[in-house]
Amino acid sequence: MSYSIDMTDQIAGATDPVLRLAGISKSFPGVKALSDVELALYPGQVTALIGENGAGKSTLVKILTGLYQPDAGRIELDGAAVRFATASDAAAAGVTAIHQETVLFDDLSVAENIFLGHAPRGRFGLIDWARMRREAAAILTRIGAQIDPATPLRELGIASKHLVAIARALSIEARVVVMDEPTAALSATEIEELYELVDRLKREGKAILFISHKFDEIFRIADRYTVFRDGQMVDAGRMADVTETQLVEKMVGRAVDTIFPQRESVPGEVVLTVAGYAHPTEFADIGFTLRRGEILGFYGLVGAGRSEVMQALFGVTRPARGAVRIDGRIAVIRSPAEAIAQGIVYVPEDRGRQGAVTAMPIFQNVTLPSLPRTSRRGFIRMAEEFALARTYTERLDLRAAALDQPVGELSGGNQQKVVIAKWLATRPKVIILDEPTKGIDVGSKAAVHDFMAELAAEGLSVIMVSSEIPEILGMSDRVIVMREGRIAAEFDRARLTPETLVRTAAGYDRKGVAA
């Protein structure tokens, strides 16, 4: 390793790190998630951990909190080596985390979600419910969340759930607080309150590890940074010493502006028209058009209801009102089967659950919706299946050992390619890609982008739902921004800046909470 912690220590001055990781490695079947990484966290300082999707950030968090055991390396707390065998061990040692996924219990109350595993005990070591509710209320107030601790978690929205997760992390008397993308699902006001909380924790002398993809917030709250790329630590230092451009370059390993393919788009006639689309609880007043050969971006905060609109278009859920026209004709879509028949396909956001059947081989995944074409009178013809699968996996440049390999054994990017291949094989008119590059490594990400551009050039209409601003800016011809289940604005690519996107999505303009 070219970067030594001791060197940065000297720069930092006298304080010793509370927590230090050295030489940590971790592999999963087929993936080396972390190799020989170092990390130091200092009291009263925020260290930002930066890296692209799949760089290994969350894996490190899980090692820190006892969820994973490292294959090699050591964890030192106040200079002494420690081992966290379970999440409780880490909590007992004063390491707490807000995890990236909300790992909570829908059927339990908010208070219990906060205190599960370390509930306040009363007489005979029994759980003291009254005290638990009181303390939960106190913590929630502290982070500015207006949530009744007695409500069942099921009844909360995604942002409130995230606040509960934050409250949970703070309910542990901790010296080290890890935050893995804590602001991803929060609204502007909630984010402000979180920043204040971080400041307060700093003043209390806690060491904070802050993971985020948003550079503005990193520059606002972090004192130090550590950059991961493909499971390796590539740089560490003080925020004061770097610029945003430098950080991005370290993170991606090349200059940023070459990431997105150049394309000359000449959208054709209108293929899809959606008007007055509404759902009782999830979205309303949705109307837009989509042209041949166009990439239409959908931006919004997580939970803005973009996926819900797309899934309604795909027939997974049924809207209450509204009309969909394909090539000018009214289309009735009551199930995915009907959507596919009409030429609309959907690459879902949740690849593992909705996209790929991970235990089944690649070729069977690819041919699944096209079986009527590869079979005769309902009887499977394996040779045709392989042929079809080969055509499309070749086109997408899939990296795998063989076509009968289970999809679960592939890397995230290649799994995504299998899902896309599956839909292309149905020869659709409209392809909806929901967070197409979520959790995909750099190389595959570019491949997916290139491919998207190719599809559009071939005359396919693409809807791309994405929460990544660069991707939205780099790929879309037009962008629709959604907020709280409604369309907030529609922009042409030319008129678009990152600021307008963020403001519209978060609703700064209307509430006037200017950044």
């Binding site: 909190t65 006892g66 969820l67 379970t86 999440a87 409780s88 061990d89 909590a91 995890h99 790992v103 909570l104 219990f105 829908d106 059927d107 339990l108 219990e112 599960l116 595993g117 509930a119 070591g125 029994l126 759980i127 419910w129 099921r154 009844e155 929205g157 995604i158 759902h279 009782p280 609880t281 999830e282 979205f283 309303a284 939970g303 803005a304 209801g305 819900e308 709280e484 289940g485 409604r486």
Partner: protein, 326 residues
Amino acid sequence: MIRSFVRSREAILLGALIALVLLVESRFSGFASPGNLAAVFNDTAILIMLALGQMLVILTRCIDLSLASNLALTGMVTAMLNAAVPGLPVVALIALAVTLGVVMGMVNGLLVWKLDIPPIVVTLGTLTIYRGLIFLISDGAWVNSHEMSAAYKALPRAELIGLPVLSWIALAVIAGFAVLVNRSALGRAFLAVGGNPHAAVYTGIDVGRTRFAAFAIAGGLAGLCGYLWVSRYAVAYVDVAGGFELDVVAACVIGGISIAGGLGTVGGAVLGALFLGTIKNALPVAGISPFWQLAISGAAIIIAVAFNARSSAKAGRLILRPESTA
């Protein structure tokens, strides 16, 4: 508080139970008398205890089909031991029954925990193995009333403040479970493991170990019930409680314990068992042909599960804010 109780599953079930009792009372006065209700409770005591054990297992997203076989085997062991060594104190036999039950539960739990075999397969196997063992140790012979010592038979039926000891034991188990499930870390772990096994790991709960604990506790209860059953009916044979495992699951289902795990209460399990027990008791009393019993309990299960599914149907996520507040 009160309002949320009134709308809860338990309240509705309690209402149904009271309606059932009143219905029978209207056809046959005396059914709702305290004495008779106490008798019905006493009769349902074993079902209640097993349902509570099964509840823990179901809460963790598992199922134990071997409970009735476990009961029968421990019952036979205590009866044979009592017949062979009549001097052995009953307390020792009870301790033995519970231990044996726990061991059998642990076997299930270990297979589920360490080898990751689906619980339904494990307990389908041990269901037949445990019952077969009874035949092997007893050679198929019965242990009859007169071969059992007076003390052995006396315990469950001895009266204490107007209730048989069997009922008191059930009440104690119910109270113990209420504390375990509502007030102890382990109890909450059962709910957490079934509610979201993935998230449970994040809170430091060992999923496998918690499931193991559920199986062990359920097994221990089955062991205790083994002694109680055999001493109460004063006979032990291979087929004791044959098919009872499904009654136990049915009681849990009626009581609103979600088969998908993570959702259920002690009150629900108790009421579910009481509901089933009351039907069984009421039919002969109400003069309904015994041949109707099976169909009625089947219908009750279906209605209960349909009803529970309705009341817990997931409300859609609320993304949309009403225009006025937006």
